[in-house]
């Protein structure tokens, strides 16, 4: 899983806005003194979202400095958890659940349909940089199968017609701002 981009810096400067830094301080305060490393997962979620959907070396080093831990402690966590992307993805990262309950309820056909519709294979990004298509393991929404998530929003009870509608809506939204209240930093 470790890819070598991890060790190549992109040469960008990263820093959170003062509003986010304030939130980060609040999150760190939830854990006992000296255990600020506990805040790593929530802060990486925020960092990934703020840096455009993936974690580059700079942002990981920055998070390490905020938590006063070694950069390697951030890298080893970022490479372990599947929700953290280490490579750039499209504006919309579509992850289709492929685990048992979804698979027997039509999830495999949904993936097929998305591949045809977007004209890419699983794992690829469309040429306009809008959509990346991936599979994921169980999203814990088996009763509403088939399920996929786009960035971190769930879309359930999928059908071909619903996929058409979702993709059209996402394309229209692509240039606008994120809807109110949907960012990680607002969830904490």
């Amino acid at each position: 899983m470790i890819n070598h981009h991890l060790y190549k810096k992109e040469g960008v400067n990263v820093a959170f806005s003062s509003k986010i830094l304030e939130k980060v301080r609040l999150i760190i305060k939830r854990y006992p003194d000296g255990k600020q490393k506990s805040a790593l997962l929530p802060i990486l979620h925020i960092a990934q979202e703020e840096s455009g959907g993936y974690l580059n070396v700079e942002i990981m080093d920055y998070v390490a400095s905020l938590l006063e831990i070694q950069p390697i402690e951030v890298y080893e966590v970022a490479t372990f958890y599947t929700m953290f992307n280490l490579e750039k993805t499209g504006t919309y990262l579509i992850e289709v659940c492929r685990t048992g309950p979804c698979a027997i309820s039509g999830g495999e056909h949904i993936l097929d349909y998305l591949e045809k519709k977007l004209n890419i294979k699983t794992g690829e990004t469309t040429s306009d940089g809008l959509f990346t298509l991936k599979t994921t393991e169980c999203l814990g929404a088996c009763g509403n199968a088939p399920v996929m998530q786009v960035n971190t929003e769930y879309y359930e009870f999928l059908s071909n017609e619903k996929i058409d509608l979702i993709l059209d809506t996402l394309k229209k939204m692509a240039n606008g701002n994120k809807p109110e209240g949907s960012r990680w930093v607002e969830k904490f």
């Binding site: 938590l67 966590v77 495999e108 814990g140 607002e186 969830k187």
Partner: protein, 451 residues
């Protein structure tokens, strides 16, 4: 109609918000527990109720609490396991989404009983909107003085924080969850020491499932004895069952333990039978990790009695002809499903989710996945079937945490009950090119009894 202890209020409009919940009698259990009872009373009441862990293992909750090292030299922690990621299980999501205050109520009483002043809810990262919902409910509880300093003037203080995971199934295992909560990779560790002695930050810690904690409030109100009068034998009370797959009404249902599986699958009140008038082929009854059973064995025990939804009845027949209640995630398969494809699918899941610490699991899951892939895709050999059994046997019991067993059981049980499907794939590779080739597999008349 069974009693609805957890979900009775779900249909009340606005029940997610504090004023509505409070108006329906919410937080009365907190008042009773904190003002009228001692921590020991609460633990006694929970022990009397016979409540067993709802996360999968079914360990008696009162007993687990009684193990906590109560020496006052270190802080104690309560950690709520909301990392629900077992395929087929989505009951905790339902509870947190619809009844967040019921969970908070349970957390306050449980923390008080355990002498914990800090409590963390570890929610899987994909449930981002639920994290928002929980934080909103927690804020409401703070505003109404049920959290924070000096709750209800008792001098007891409690803080609850929500902590997100980041997409690792393994973090549902309690020691991995605690590692993850410390900001590390979710690697399980050997027990003992148990978390009750050395848990979060090396302090005494109790880790309980969402549903377990949510049940504590109602137990305090109704009394342990009354709760224990519901259910059957050592499986007391009600349980949330999440049902999915090829049924008419997928969803989360609260049942009184002891309900026959047949009633659950076929009655209109619950699953409503198999979709499109198909026949029932198999059921995985407790989340993907438990052994799969063919229709006849899930509906009745080897002795010919109706199989009931209880911890004991599910296990009847051992692994030869029984399974486990686990987390209560029912995955129902109709006659068109291919059991080889399903087994390959689950094994791929476990290979993906193995943390990689123990060789039998890290190497074994990948090996089984490759062998299952080639059988499913028409490249299998006859010897592959025994090879799978052999690998599964060597994983089972040889790993630090139960993920190894969880990966081995679905493979071993699928071969035990559906060996002919594996053989059919090997003998008829031509059918394997189609994604939904399950319906093409010829079933020998004697080997499988549809219902």
């Amino acid at each position: 109609m069974g009693r609805k202890i957890l979900t009775g209020l779900v249909t009340v409009p606005g029940i997610r918000s504090f004023p509505v919940y409070r108006g329906e009698g919410g937080y009365m259990s907190v008042e009773k527990a904190l003002c009228e009872m001692t921590p020991i009373d609460i633990i006694k009441e929970v022990t009397k109720s016979g409540l067993r862990g709802r996360g999968g293992a079914g360990f008696p909750t009162g007993l687990k609490w009684s193990f906590l090292d109560r020496k006052p030299d270190k802080p104690h922690y309560l950690v709520c396991n909301a990392d629900e990621s077992e395929p087929g299980t989505f009951k905790d999501r339902f509870l947190m989404e619809n009844m967040p205050h019921l969970l908070i109520e349970g957390l306050i009483i449980s923390s008080f009983a355990l002498g914990a002043n800090t409590c963390y809810i570890y929610v899987r990262g994909e449930f981002k909107y639920i994290i928002g919902l929980l934080n909103k409910a927690i804020r409401e509880a703070y505003e109404n003085k049920f959290l924070g300093e000096n709750i209800l003037g008792t001098g007891y203080s409690l803080d609850i924080f929500v902590h997100p995971g980041a997409g690792a199934y393994i973090c549902g295992e309690e020691t991995a969850l605690l590692e993850s909560l410390k900001g590390k990779r979710g690697n399980p560790r050997i027990k003992p020491p148990f978390p009750a002695y050395k848990g979060l930050y090396d302090c005494p810690t109790v880790v309980n499932n969402v549903e377990t904690i949510a049940t504590v409030g109602p137990i305090i109100i109704m009394g342990g004895e009354e709760y224990a009068s519901i259910g059957k034998g050592k499986s007391t009370g009600t349980k949330l069952i999440s049902a999915c797959g090829n049924i008419n009404n997928p969803g989360v249902y609260e049942i009184e333990l002891g309900l026959p599986v047949e009633d659950f699958i076929y009655s209109q009140e619950y699953c409503g039978g198999i979709r499109d008038g198909k026949r029932l082929k198999a059921v995985v009854a407790g989340g993907s990790s438990v052994p799969v059973l063919p229709a006849d064995l899930i509906l009745s025990t080897p002795q010919g009695q109706k199989r009931l939804i209880t911890f004991e009845s599910m296990q009847e027949g051992g692994f030869d002809s029984g399974t486990m209640l686990g987390s209560g995630g029912f995955i129902v398969y109709n006659e068109d499903q291919c059991m080889v494809r399903n087994t390959w699918n689950f094994t791929r899941f476990y290979r993906h989710e193995s943390c990689g610490q123990c060789s039998p699991c890290r190497e074994g899951t990948g090996w089984m996945e490759k062998v299952l892939y080639r059988i499913e895709h028409g490249k299998g050999k006859v010897s592959d079937i025994d090879l799978l059994v052999s690998v599964a046997n060597k994983i089972e019991g040889n790993t630090i945490c139960p993920l190894g067993d969880a990966a081995a059981w679905p493979v071993a049980s699928a071969i035990r009950h559906f060996r002919h499907e594996f053989e059919y794939h090997i003998e008829h590779p031509e059918i394997c090119n189609r994604m939904d080739h399950g319906k093409l597999i010829e079933q020998p008349a004697a080997s499988i009894k549809y219902r």
